[in-house]
């Protein structure tokens, strides 16, 4: 295992510490328990927006803390959801009295820990709403699974719900916008290589030189199936088709197209994928109104990408365009 780290067990603490130093104008880092808040939290009268989950997906979530997006991020150990005793004080820190929305990716661990934290917060008089993100079409949402996972779409939920909170929407409205984004976004991913969890020390799965994993999540878990390596256009089609079909994208639809790197794939390759995805989407008669290309929801140094499509309406587009000022997404300010 080759990593730019000191102690595998100190990775998250040291990284968050460095993040706080680099972005001291934007965020404040609470070391014990570990969470990150907007420098100016709680923002008076504003609904608080909090997200969190295992570490290893950077810039998610800390990179999205700031004006127009999250008020707090709560990072767990690598690929391990945070605990209620991190989530609760972070919730308290960003509640201005208007309540707090938890954006939770749909994994058993995240759901259980946020559930407990929300109960404890409610017991202390803080109103909490939870938006569950489950955009991964690789997983069937059935009795035989833990349900669809929350993956790349999370960043879109955070941006748009964040803009709703920033414009002054109340607690239920912010949660409703978040849910609307979630129900209009689908994602599917591919891995060309595994990643190595620092404390584990060996790659999260084994792939031959000519194999790729289709339908991966963001925790280095193997995907739905291994297939032989294909070219970028073919892979793009394999990811995009289920996304467009599940969403029922049809002629006249307006969409945001998001090609997300898993951390170890060069930007140049993401644009090759974007090129094909934009063409296929246009061939369906849909209009790509907004785009996002880059490493936003990653799995350490995994090579691969995911493609997300979000069906837009005028309100969602407006909220997407609204000013945002975070370490990893910034415009309008």
């Amino acid at each position: 295992m080759k990593k730019l780290i000191n102690d595998p067990r100190a990775v998250v603490d040291e990284s968050v510490d460095g993040f706080g130093l680099a972005h001291a104008d934007l965020v404040a880092v609470n070391a014990e328990p570990r969470f990150i808040t907007r420098r100016d939290a709680p923002v008076s009268g504003k609904v608080g927006l909090l997200s969190g989950g295992g570490s290893g997906h950077e810039p998610l979530h800390a990179g999205f803390v700031g004006m127009g997006m999250l008020d707090a991020a709560v990072p767990g150990a690598v690929f391990t959801s945070p605990t209620p005793d991190q989530i609760l004080p972070a919730t308290q820190a960003v509640d201005s009295g208007a309540g707090v929305v938890h954006i939770v990716k749909n994994y058993t661990g995240d759901v259980l820990n946020f559930e407990t934290a929300a109960e404890l917060a409610e017991a202390e008089g803080i109103q909490v709403r939870t938006v569950l993100v489950n955009d991964d079409v690789a997983v069937e949402d059935s009795l035989y699974t833990a349900g669809r996972r929350g993956v790349g779409g999370t960043v879109l939920v955070e941006k748009i719900a964040g803009a709703a909170a920033e414009r002054g929407d109340d607690l239920d409205s912010v949660a409703a916008i978040g849910e609307r984004v979630n129900s209009n976004v689908r994602t599917m991913g591919v891995a060309l290589s595994a990643c190595t969890v620092p404390h584990a020390g060996s790659p999260s799965f084994d792939l031959e030189d000519n194999e790729i994993e289709i339908g991966i999540g963001i925790h280095g878990e193997p995907g739905r199936h291994k297939i032989p390596l294909e070219n970028a256009d073919t892979i793009t089609d394999m990811l995009l088709e289920p996304v467009l079909s599940d969403l029922g994208i049809a002629a006249g639809d307006k969409v945001l197209l998001f090609v997300n790197g898993m951390g170890g794939t060069p930007l140049s390759e993401l644009y090759i994928v974007y090129r094909r995805a934009a063409r296929v989407t246009a061939d369906r008669g849909a209009t790509v109104e907004r785009s996002l290309v880059g490493n936003y929801v990653t799995a350490l140094e995994m090579q691969g990408c995911s493609i997300s499509v979000l069906r837009l309406d005028d309100e969602l587009t407006g909220l997407w365009d609204a000013p945002v000022h975070t370490a990893a997404l910034r415009w309008g300010v």
Partner: protein, 210 residues
């Protein structure tokens, strides 16, 4: 041998030892069908339990288990943290202030733990989760205690053996809960990490009484 606070502390100490020793194995199991963190999570959690036990030595087995529950909830995270936390919390509640736990009460605590896991995680037997270790363990303990003949040690051994058999029985299962369920059929042929750690915990209970 009585199941008193000393036994409980020894049990939890042996748990911590087992998690440290089996950390890599549990990571390997989770690597195959999950996200490579179960061994790290359990090791971190039980090391924290050791620290807590040293700070405030508990006066009853129930108090020891409650402290364990709170520590696991605050230190483990992931799926295992809340599930084990609930298990130990329910077991503690079931034992109440008892100073010396009778075999039947121990079996009752295991049942309560199992019910807690099911209540939180909604998994059924056969879903390839820790429930597949706790269910046979609790049932075996109840059966051994119900005979009346069962000594303390016999009940503990029955639970441990049933948990180990239950964990081994997860090998061929296709997961329907937790992270392994994303793999569908590909999850078959691997042991569930949470069932494996559950068997280690129940085996430690025997060691503490031996």
């Amino acid at each position: 041998m009585v199941l008193d606070a000393n036994w409980a502390v020894k049990w939890l100490t042996l748990c911590a030892q087992a998690m440290a020793e089996n950390r890599v194995w549990l990571i390997e199991l989770d690597r195959a069908i999950g996200d490579s963190d179960h061994g790290e999570n359990m090791d971190r959690g039980f090391q924290a339990v050791l620290d807590k036990l040293a700070e405030v030595p508990p006066e009853t087995p129930g108090a020891a288990l409650k402290l364990t529950a709170m520590t696991l909830i605050s230190k483990v995270g992931g799926a295992a943290g809340p599930l084990y936390g609930t298990a130990f919390l329910r077991a503690a509640a079931s034992l109440g202030d008892t100073v010396e736990v009778e075999p039947a009460a121990f079996a009752g605590a295991l049942l309560a733990a199992r019910d807690g896991i099911v209540a939180r995680g909604k998994a059924e037997p056969g879903d390839k989760t820790m429930v597949d270790a706790w269910t046979p363990a609790a049932e075996a303990a109840v059966a051994a205690a119900a005979d009346g003949a069962g000594s303390v040690l016999e009940v503990l051994v029955a639970a441990a053996e049933a948990a180990e058999a239950g964990a081994a029985a997860t090998d061929p299962m296709v997961a329907r809960k937790g992270r392994a369920s994303y793999l569908g059929e590909r999850s078959a042929g691997h042991r569930d990490p949470g069932a494996a750690s559950s068997a280690l915990i129940l085996r430690a209970a025997v060691g503490a009484a031996a």
